[in-house]
Symmetry: C2
Subunit: 803 residues, 2 copies
């Protein structure tokens, strides 16, 4: 079978310790590379630019693309694409917590600096020293930190393990590149990354002790709570140019179980010497440190001339070092500019889906916002250490409670095939891990914020015709959320307080987040009914349409506030409402409050599936309009992001400005939205009004600046007011949606008339089916409210069709 | 700091590819080795022979013992110790499922053959081919298989990956060694193992293509359900003598999440050539296969002379390959006899704790049973991939539902320090994983059989004075079991049907295992009260003493069977009992039945904490005696392990024979027990009456053959009838318990009189405090019931002291 293959011991040759060579036999010849690249491009244009990373192409991904894709042949790259408008620093400060490092859309490698006290959610901090550059991050998140694994640093001299961090200068970031100078060492770094591999280019001074440090014991960690903790690590130098290892980390924001990030790295320059450490004890020349629960690391030492560049390519994996080594080959050149061009091209394939005609500043805001939306979740297909399946694997849903509102509906318009992959991943998680996540990171579910909002993604997808999803299985997973209490840790997954909800019809006052849960569960139940209805399961649909009115069970008609009567109010198990002096509709927010990231005055407007019933309960259209007016004007004090009581910074109010559409006062929606777009979002480092939350704030911007906003879970878009004179959307099915806004300006913010697909539109809303095959949406704008749509048909509500 | 350490690339020397050498600098000189060994021995005799592996000695374990302990200096080995009486094949057949391979007490490596259809719980099968020798197993289990990882095979010629298995001859096993000939290849194997490392000695014929195969894609797997599945693997040849890799496996009996077993192996002979495979495709000369979810493996090829021996030492780890390499050094000689002697010495330190005077056949049965008790759980301290702590880490509680009854009480007598470590491990699991397990394997909880029986271990330990346990934390963990529903998967952990139990006072008929759960929860609640009471938490104690009577809520006085009235009977949520024609007290058993591994007639005698109330409910002592008589005589048909309706093969009846003590008919206990010991346990391969269940059946044997049996969770031993003329127990505290049985014989099975610590004992029971500091227990035996203890004080019941 393999004959007399025999080598003397001395000739027993280990390719592992052979320095990296480009022409290795695993790589196909240039010609076939180009063919693969063209196929990729074709596939990309046919079914979404991102479909290459989908499950069907896993074999290709592993056997071909990861190792073969030449950065020189950038597929479909538009050198002058919209990536030029992206400023990765927008939203990094002022609580935006955006990740400014390098990555490709949904990329597994998110390479950037970890700074200051290592308590910054995206690693980067506006000031403070840089500890090094780590390969895993999230963007826009709050709470405890997650990731910040496999940290590297170019340095010189003695390694002070108690603090090797350096001040920085000349920090710059663009799509595909981050660079900085480290003044403590006189070194500098340029970084780029593709999906699962990174390329570091370090410049050193003249020194005999220039070093590259690899810290397997480093991770981001908010210390006061939800702390990440390194529970194990290992490192091994394999040759003068190769090393590998891992970090195993537990905890962090979602209080997840341990995950492990493996790496394999290769330098373009052989090290002169090396060393490793464990538990703070450095051992020069010691080639490995095994895992005994302590922190380990390694360094390679070089004799450098002034300005000498040393490059390191790094693959990471959640599976193994061997896998990380295979992933590393996604970078197959030492030319950083080529890899950067590849990454940029990948971004342009997303960003060029929308062409804009408008102000440059608005374009910077728009494309940067669109960029934020495609940073997460993380595509870890093929990188699942917990089970195997043919399905896609997405992680870092962080949290769906944030992203179901606008981010996922945006994916459904621009990249529905990718949205389908995500839904399939959610089903696969349910099948193998027990529940679909509300949030998931580090391969583990947690934490649930409010409802089981993954439900809404399925309703949103089925009513919008997203194909390739097993909705029957999805419905089973949704029903598990709705019917099986998660037990033990109710913040991990499923619906907390479910026994209350299913027996009493509301989550009782003794249970944390009782009002948020009751109202969100009602909405989620509506989405279950929606999917069941579409699947012809009428008994389930009827049952859940009934449950979708459960929000009414927590409604206290006796509560009065600022001239408005009737609010969601905590209710005891015995049916009595909490005494009036025990609660207030104007405060709330924490995990243990009745209302999560909101307060009852705001939450009491959150019945997105049945606004008609809510408005009736609030005293009719006029009274509800006044309630909205109060909400958006009262207490318009000096608090930074507030408009009246409204804080765009938290998701429970995402839909609120467009609620005027439900009382046919679209002019008020337009005024509010344009004000927020112009004044609350800026092309500055503090330009995002709150945690970007995996692109949630940014998706809000993207939608409204196009002139409409989704009511997630329904096939309805509410018209607001477009920012751009012209926006052209290149849909995945090859069709084009053209949005124009005649006479649009900073003052002409009011809609005068609308034509949809060349017919006059008298309503302030339209359906997904109106645009999914392309078409035209033509606005005429003016400086005053026009009366347009005042007498239109209202956007649909559940009670229009049920009962 | 580390100066001008500089090497040219060609001189960049990798110790990894240096063949193994004995005198490596990590090893201490012989003199200090001996001192370590003596300290170990001293520690062993002072605080339990096993304490060296406890948490306080972890540093020593890693830095010293694992790498330094010389097998030549066997610590406290008794060459003629009781290991000589152990026959590892007893209980392997007839459903006993005992593991006949090599391991040390609680050892992580359990090395043995995997046979036949790979569906045998312990790997070994009475017939069918041998596929190879794998390093992880469990003993005595039923249901789906677990483990069977890192499989090796000595072979020759072409590797047929579709079936490389071989028929066997001359299979032999003794403590510390397993050997067999593989006739397909003309090879043979001798195997031995210490805690985390194994030594294989393979003998080859004259051949140029003698090979050692390493299969990372193999595991045991029951195919019909609870299937184990390899979800990833990797292998890498490091040098002509070294390789490493891992297998990642999901599922199996406890339906656990994925676990990974890493290995590092080293041969004493350099390979001539090598190869690897993935997904069935062999690649000669390819040094590694990275993990892409498929099965991988490797082989090393040797040119052997007739009878040439090649030895392989293998370390395994649940953490990493580096850790496996460190663990491998527990074997530091190629002399298998030396390693075997070390393993045997470890066993003798357990087995020599009991000295016996009696028939050799009885000694074989006894010491083999004692051997079985110390196979599991598995001590994985320092090998936890999920979190780090200073606490011990035990896995393969498989299941506590089986072992709480006799195995753990046996640990408490013979090795209480080890029992304390196990309880600390359980607390650590609760703290980090959410719930204490009822069962746990592969680092994950599941499956719960009946109650939350880990509760009972804490009560058992606190009433018996086991030291070194944080009982306050233990109580918190117990209260979580009792008060927080586990949700989602109720077979995983905690108490299923808890909402019913806590609101209705019983688990209702709609819930699986409702009767088993209600009765077991009642008993568990008693143990919570016991611990709370000892800790002075009287409010908790009172509440749980009340709940301990909940078994009465499921009691149906109207049901009559075989002349007896009143049985546990399924009850609906509305309080009504299930209709009489819907259920029977004489059948049951499965996961979804009201009774698990039992039936109501038997289960209705399971109120171990309040026999007095149970007996009253059954009509008083005489009626209860008749009920027991019916149970042990009715339907004494041709079913193999039955005595009347009683099946010793399942744990719910473990206590039943001794229940005669609660009606002062100890003579009936004695007759039954001696019958079972003599006729249902044999020194044969099918000599255990059912799955040994991690030594549970064996612990039953050990206790009763010493003449008494524990009522777990209470400090009470019920006297039965001793088998041996004399038994001397060497306790961990240095004291000695001497048990004598004058006139004992196969016919003189009835107790005529008892003296406890030199005073006459008129009761058929005594307390742990009577023997924990040693003492004497002197029986006089005779051929007929004597009337001894007929008028004694009955063993205690809860209702004696509460209310």
């Amino acid at each position: 079978m393999f004959g007399s293959f025999s080598l003397s011991v001395s000739a027993f040759r280990l390719p592992f310790i052979t320095p990296y060579h480009y022409g290795c036999t695993r790589n196909a010849p240039r010609e076939s590379r180009r063919r693969n690249a063209r196929l990729l491009h074709k596939s990309g244009s046919g079914h979404g630019m991102l479909s290459v990373a989908g499950p069907f192409s896993l074999t290709a991904l592993l056997c071909g693309l990861l190792t073969l894709l030449p950065s020189a042949t950038v597929c479909g790259a538009n050198e002058n694409g919209n990536a030029q408008y992206v400023d990765p620093f927008i939203g990094t400060e002022g609580g935006g917590n955006v990740f400014p490092g390098v990555c490709v859309p949904f990329g597994m490698v998110k390479l950037g600096p970890d700074c200051g006290n290592m308590e910054w959610n995206a690693g980067w901090a506006p000031d403070g020293n840089i500890h090094g550059f780590s390969h895993t991050h999230v963007s826009g998140t709050g709470g405890g930190c997650k990731y910040g694994n496999i940290l590297m640093l170019p340095m010189t001299g003695v390694i002070d393990l108690s603090d090797y961090s350096s001040p920085r200068e000349n920090e710059q970031a663009s799509v595909g590149e981050y660079s900085v100078e480290l003044t403590r060492y006189g070194t500098s770094a340029r970084l780029t990354a593709v999906d699962r591999a990174a390329l570091h280019e370090y410049t050193f001074p003249a020194a005999t002790d220039s070093r590259i440090l690899f810290d397997m014991g480093s991770c981001l960690a908010l210390k006061m709570c939800e702390t990440q903790k390194v529970i194990g690590s290992e490192v091994r130098i394999l040759s003068p140019t190769e090393l590998e290892g891992y970090t195993r980390v537990r905890g962090g924001w979602n209080e997840g179980e341990a995950y492990t990030v493996y790496f394999h790295a290769e330098t373009d320059t052989p090290a002169e010497s090396f060393g490793t450490w464990k538990d703070g004890k450095t051992e020069p020349g010691k080639e490995s440190q095994f895992d005994s629960g302590q922190k380990t690391g390694a360094y390679m030492t070089f004799n450098t001339t002034e300005g000498q560049k040393i490059r390191v390519r790094v693959g990471i994996s959640y599976i193994s070092c061997g896998r990380a080594r295979a992933n590393m080959r996604q970078v197959d050149t030492w030319d950083l500019d080529k890899v950067k061009a590849e990454a940029t091209a990948k971004w342009n394939r997303v960003l060029d889906k929308v062409e804009l005609d408008g102000d440059k500043n608005d374009k910077v805001k728009f494309y940067t916002a669109l960029y934020h939306c495609y940073l997460q979740p993380t595509d870890k297909t093929g990188e699942n250490p917990k089970w195997t399946s043919a399905e896609p694997n997405y992680d870092d849903f962080y949290a769906i409670w944030d992203t179901f509102r606008a981010t996922h509906p945006l994916f459904t318009i621009l990249t529905p095939s990718r949205q389908a992959y995500m839904l399939r991943a959610l089903i696969d998680i349910w099948r193998n891990d027990g529940y679909m996540p509300d949030a998931r990171s580090g391969n583990d579910n947690g934490r649930v914020q409010g409802g089981s909002n993954c439900d809404i993604l399925f309703a949103d997808a089925i009513v919008k015709g997203v194909e390739g999803v097993d909705y029957e299985a999805g419905l089973q997973a949704m029903l598990k959320n709705a019917e099986v209490p998660p037990g033990g840790d109710e913040r991990k997954e499923g619906r907390g307080g479910l026994d209350d909800y299913n027996t009493l019809g509301y989550v009782s006052a003794a249970t944390e987040r009782c009002l948020t849960r009751t109202l969100e569960y009602s909405n989620c139940d509506f989405t279950i009914a929606t999917v069941a209805n579409r699947l012809g399961k009428n008994d389930i649909a009827d049952r859940y349409y009934r449950k979708a009115s459960n929000w009414q069970n927590t409604w206290n008609d006796d509560i009065e506030c600022l001239g408005h009567k009737g609010f969601a109010w905590p209710r005891e198990r015995d049916g009595s409402f909490l005494a009036e002096d025990k609660y207030t509709v104007l405060t709330g927010g924490g995990w243990e409050n009745p209302t999560y990231e909101t307060f009852s005055f705001e939450l009491s407007m959150y019945v997105p599936h049945d606004m008609k019933s809510l408005i009736a309960r609030c005293g009719g259209q006029e009274r509800f309009t006044q309630r909205l007016d109060t909400f958006f004007t009262h207490n318009n004090g000096d608090q930074r992001w507030l408009i009246g009581m409204y804080q765009i910074a938290n998701e429970p109010g995402f839909l609120a400005p467009a609620l005027y559409n439900y009382v046919n006062r679209q002019d008020k929606t337009a005024r509010l939205v344009r004000y927020i777009l112009a004044n609350r979002y800026k092309a500055t480092r503090d330009g995002i009004p709150g945690n970007d939350d995996s692109g949630s704030m940014s998706a809000w911007y993207v939608f409204h600046s196009l002139g409409f906003y989704p009511n997630a879970g329904q096939d309805v878009y509410l018209i607001s007011s477009p920012v751009f004179r012209k926006a052209t959307l290149h849909l995945e099915n090859g069709r084009t949606l053209r949005i124009t806004a005649r006479n649009n300006s900073d003052r002409n913010i009011y809609v005068q008339s609308v034509r949809l697909n060349e017919k006059p539109l008298g309503n302030n809303w339209f359906r997904h089916s109106d645009i999914k095959d392309g078409g035209t949406l033509e606005f005429v704008m003016g400086p005053e409210p026009s009366g347009w749509s005042r007498n239109g048909v209202l956007p649909p509500s559940m009670s229009d069709t049920t009962k």
